[in-house]
């Protein structure tokens, strides 16, 4: 279970992690922890699946990258194997089943528009199902943190 220290770590480190030679030591100090204690806590949170990852959120368009939201209408009896095909691509960042006729929703992110299009073409070829490609036209808001 998470305790108050875990919550404080999550709240603090969602806002940003230091870029320095000993970043865990720098981040641990205001939390009243040692460097080792902080590393141990983060390891635990990661093992328990609380953290999806520990890394960057990037503006992919700034270096030629591309991402898109994709939907498919998958017959229920084919759902498992279609999900396996979709998730087998490292370019697929997340995939959710949702309660709608378009029942599978996933994000494809790649180093270029071309690569993302290749993945979509391959998904269609391997599943025999059409994909609905819905890249963002405009971003109004991206929440960067949630309250632990």
């Amino acid at each position: 279970m998470m305790d108050d220290t875990d919550r404080a770590i999550i709240d603090a480190l969602q806002d940003g992690f230091p870029i320095s030679s000993r970043p865990f030591a720098d981040a641990a100090r205001p939390l009243g922890l040692t460097e080792d204690e902080l590393i141990e806590r983060i390891k635990c949170l990661r093992e328990r699946g609380v953290l999806s990852r520990f890394g960057p959120m990037v503006n992919a368009d700034r270096f030629g990258g591309h991402n898109t939201l994709v939907a498919m209408a998958v017959p229920p009896e084919n759902f498992e194997w279609v999900a396996a095909v979709v998730n087998s691509f490292p370019e697929v960042a997340h995939n959710y089943a949702r309660d709608h006729a378009l029942n599978m929703w996933f994000v494809v992110a790649g180093e270029s528009r071309k690569r993302v299009d290749e993945v979509l073409t391959e998904v269609e070829a391997r599943t025999g199902l059409p994909v609905y490609d819905m890249p963002k036209i405009r971003e109004f808001h991206v929440g960067l943190r949630i309250k632990a």
Partner: protein, 179 residues
């Protein structure tokens, strides 16, 4: 537009040439920061870059808004936000910018994007994400938001997630470096 525009404006970043070395670094970083007392040294080691150079490049990438944030990214579900709804709206094209700005500013809304319609199957062009402890809470906050913001009359659909198959970070960078 979109992420790029916000990065430039939001961070006050200036144009920055992203080199192949930077892409290698971004790609390595997307795989996760090592839980090591000197993580940037360890990260650099994997791509043949010294710690000082890693720190310098990361700081530049952050200031330019190419790295929007570096830190921990948590799963809503594991923090007790068990219901997640993608709420999609069919808004006339000449109103979507204004409505998008308004909904994007709401505390209940964690993501807000304009995306293309895919007619005839998909008439919705504004995508918002709302999280809550359970479905009832999400539905209540959606109803409240729709009234308060004067958007209740637009056609909308609520797609709750019923299962999460995969959730990891996007991987970017040159393929040879990412794989």
């Amino acid at each position: 537009m979109g992420v790029m525009g916000m990065g430039v404006m939001g961070m006050g970043g200036v144009g920055m040439e992203v080199s192949d070395r930077d892409l290698d670094l971004i790609s390595a970083l997307c795989g996760g920061l090592p839980l090591d007392s000197r993580p940037y040294q360890a990260l650099g080691h994997a791509i043949g870059m010294g710690e000082a150079e890693v720190l310098e490049r990361l700081e530049a990438l952050r200031q330019a808004g190419i790295i929007r944030r570096l830190g921990i990214i948590v799963r809503h579900h594991e923090l007790g936000y068990r219901a997640n709804a993608m709420v999609v709206w069919d808004i006339p094209n000449d109103e979507v910018a204004e409505v998008g700005r308004r909904l994007g500013a709401c505390p209940e809304v964690s993501l807000c994007y304009r995306r293309p319609r895919r007619l005839p199957d998909w008439p919705y062009c504004l995508f918002t994400m709302i999280h809550g402890k359970d479905r009832a809470q999400v539905e209540a906050s959606l109803a409240e938001l729709a009234e308060r913001e004067g958007v209740a009359h637009y056609p909308r659909s609520v797609l709750f997630s019923v299962r999460r198959f995969k959730q990891c970070g996007a991987r970017y960078g040159r393929r040879q470096a990412a794989e």
